[in-house]
Amino acid sequence: MKVLFYGRLEEAIGSRLDIDTPPALSVGEVRDRLANDYPHMGRALHPKRARACVGDRFVHDRYILSGEDTLEFLPPVSGG
């Protein structure tokens, strides 16, 4: 599955990760895995700091992903 990052998350992790996902993985589980792999970004990856987005719609952490989904993590915007 493709995971995209923006802003500070992109600078710390990169713009894109391709991760292997078991069936019925939730957004929250991906978030936990990322926080484990990038412990210095754990706070920035918290649900209150980075909103999850699938198919241009914001989703809750309990949202179940399919392998075809592209998951995006959006940190707080800075405005124009």
């Binding site: 992109e10 600078e11 700091r49 241009d56 719609r57 914001f58 940190p75 915007v77 800075s78 124009g80």
Partner: protein
């Protein structure tokens, strides 16, 4: 009534945007515009060579459209025009153009003020300033974020 909101990945011409706005507003009594430029120094006084506005492929355009529509709904204006740069913007170059036309001046002033207030805090951009020395990147910095991204058009599911 026209409401135009445009994300511009290349050079933004304030003159062309103004001409396009005025061409639509024949018969109106007032036009108010604001043009924002990339500052050559940070709020801390450090020199800045490049402003980088990262955007989202769809949510950024949606946020611009929602903000422009909000101005059109809230104020007695006949035309609203927003053009916003994204990508790498050299210091001194235009970043944003907002324009509003109305029968009387107050509505156009208020609409332009509203547009800029919302664009500066709610538009889906991630801003970074970069400093170069002899073409070598020596510093990048993010300003404090304004808010968690949200548009009313995109509801959680």
């Amino acid at each position: 009534m026209s409401v135009i909101a445009r994300l511009e990945p290349n050079k933004l011409s304030a003159e062309q945007e103004l001409a396009a706005l005025l061409a639509q507003g024949a018969g109106d009594g007032a036009a108010v515009i604001f043009v924002g430029f990339a500052r050559p120094c940070s709020t801390a006084g450090r020199p800045v060579d490049l402003l980088v506005l990262e955007h989202h492929s769809t949510l950024t355009q949606l946020s611009l459209e929602e903000i422009a529509a909000g101005a059109a709904q809230q104020f007695d204006v006949s035309h609203v025009r927003v053009a916003h740069r994204c990508g790498e913007i050299p210091a001194g170059a235009p970043v944003v153009f907002v324009g509003a036309m109305s029968q009387h001046r107050r509505s156009a002033f208020d609409a332009a003020d509203y547009l800029m207030d919302r664009l500066k805090t709610e538009a889906v951009f991630w801003k970074m300033s970069r400093i170069f020395t002899s073409s070598r990147l020596v510093a990048s910095s993010f300003p404090p974020p304004a808010r968690v991204p949200c548009t009313s058009a995109i509801a959680p599911i």
